[in-house]
Symmetry: C2
Subunit: 412 residues, 2 copies
Amino acid sequence: MLIKEISILQAGQLLKGRDILIEGNRIARIGRDLKDEGHEETIDGRGKLAIPGLVNSHTHLATALFRGYADDMLLQHWLEEKIWPLEARLTPEDVYWGAKLGCLELIRFGTTCYNDMYFFPDETARATKEMGLRAFLAAGIFDIRPELLAEAEPFIRRWQGDELICPAVGPHAAYTCSEETLLQARDLADRYNTLIHIHVAETKEEVDGFNLTKGLSPVEYLDSLNMLSPRLVAVHCVWLTLEDAHLLAARGANVVDCTVSNLKLCSGIAPLNCLLEAGVNVCLGTDGSCSNNNSNLFGEMKVTAIVQKNAYQTPAAFSAEQVWHMATEGAYKAFGLQMGMREGALADLALIDLRKPWLYPQSNMVSHLVYSMTGEVDTTIVNGKVLMRNGFIPGEAEILEEAQKRFLRLTS
Amino acid sequence: MLIKEISILQAGQLLKGRDILIEGNRIARIGRDLKDEGHEETIDGRGKLAIPGLVNSHTHLATALFRGYADDMLLQHWLEEKIWPLEARLTPEDVYWGAKLGCLELIRFGTTCYNDMYFFPDETARATKEMGLRAFLAAGIFDIRPELLAEAEPFIRRWQGDELICPAVGPHAAYTCSEETLLQARDLADRYNTLIHIHVAETKEEVDGFNLTKGLSPVEYLDSLNMLSPRLVAVHCVWLTLEDAHLLAARGANVVDCTVSNLKLCSGIAPLNCLLEAGVNVCLGTDGSCSNNNSNLFGEMKVTAIVQKNAYQTPAAFSAEQVWHMATEGAYKAFGLQMGMREGALADLALIDLRKPWLYPQSNMVSHLVYSMTGEVDTTIVNGKVLMRNGFIPGEAEILEEAQKRFLRLTS
């Protein structure tokens, strides 16, 4: 595939009129006037910007099916009266269609890879492969449903080695899993060399509980179980001490910030400047559609940067470049993805139509991507395949219709 | 004009298959199976939602020209090194093209009316009329440029009575205008029965200054000058006492919240729940493109609601309905606009393509509009005229090109 005369970003500068040659699932060449002979597919890149795909580092994708079903409620009412009863009725097929609905969003928002934790991960894997996206998937493991831990290993064995789906281990949190469960999850991840995806220090109540019962913070507790490592993806980390931040940095653990979800559920604001200063690798996630309510990382980047500025009381506290890094390079590092706008990288790209008023004047393009983009991209390419071209995704109408039917059945 | 088989919202419920008949600049009828004989124009509304246009209650629209030019800087550096030198070079023609660029955004974001304060308001008026939008316009009045006050009255006389442009008086703030200037501005507004558009209590420094020098809050000071009334549009109101809130309510003054701008500039978070509880009419604005960086009220609604929830530490604190009201009915009241989805109202409408994954399942549509919409609408109608149809705005490419040229000249 050859993308002709497109703009790219290099060190923050907009370079126009470049060609991108894709061979197989990789970017083979980036240059000027590349020949398009013999290539099956050519994309006219004029008036567009190519960016390496964004990575949504924390989702419960199939909850797209519950979007708007329950907002503006107290957390316990929300869970007990709305979300848990709905999840109790959820079938594998519901998760399959919910994940497909979520994949449509990711494709339209220029996200080429996501890191998910949810029930029936085989269904999410099947949906994701059919949609052509890349994903790291784990079932959430809770002690109240012991079969979930038992199912984790067979799930890993079924999917390990897949080109697009990478299985992970997902102990839900240190307050919903016993020490024994956490140790088993860690051993499983060690044995299969997978990531561990876990919620950490999301609310003040959670942290207070650990301090009271164990005399440790959740981060210190996980460290006492030897769970902090470069293979750990610790989500939220809203309530941390400076010592926690340095511990995460020393162990090379990755943190995922979900500012929108944390604000909507009143969990608080994560100390991102402290984490970055301590040297922690920080990524960005939208969380599920019940607490966001979409999977738009562009919106997430903007909210993250401006909320951090206000929290640290200086506009210089958090730059567009820093938050852009979280959604791209930070995530590429956490998930071991060979991505970027360079030869040899995976051909996971989003093409953005630059002829939008909010992207003018064409000056500081990183600023526009973070502070001004609505989120809707024009074309999305994953693993060398076009998933959306000029806003068209094959089969979209059928997915929307089926999602609607399943929502009505679940809530009837 | 007849819009056929469209969905509308009534008391939060989605009603499908309605027809909307527009005669002149008004909604003449809303019903089923209205006849389309003899109407010049028919719009196929299937798969779309019609909403009454949003109102952006505080902008400096022409600063769209400066978008991305200076971000992530300390306020004083930002103003002194970047914004003021640029504004010193600004010509009337620059403002005309900057306003046109901003109008493109408003049209694409479903905003049909805006309330603006900026230099050369005649140019903004000319641009707005050509683009077909509705606007309340005022020159910002500062004591350091006394001619601005002198120009206010002739500006009002030129535009009063215009169908789309409504002139207003815009003393910039109580700390940039002397008491004498404020009183003259008030008298002018009284004489011509216009709105007064003013920044109030935006930063803590401003409020501290008033308390130290006058022993009054900015709100109390304005009240001592008899400036609080239903014709006052007080922007920001971040740093208020409970007494200020009750004073604003008692006088019937309107407040405009600009959460995104306040976060990006680290001004703080306005006490919206207190204002609403006190009974103040609160509207929503994006502020200028230097501090936002776009004019997308959908994004603004989401950030406003979630930031208020977290500030008040309960997800129930601020509902989607409340913030939707601020961008619609609250503003219609403040600006005296006969708008809404009802017969006899102004035909100022936005049509939204509902076949987007983030608007599925089609359940709680107000939630989707606030928490999930990207902001891009399909069709925009103002005063009975179609300004954008299916994403197409005549003349858009020329405006983008000219804005780019002017930005390059200004910054060269």
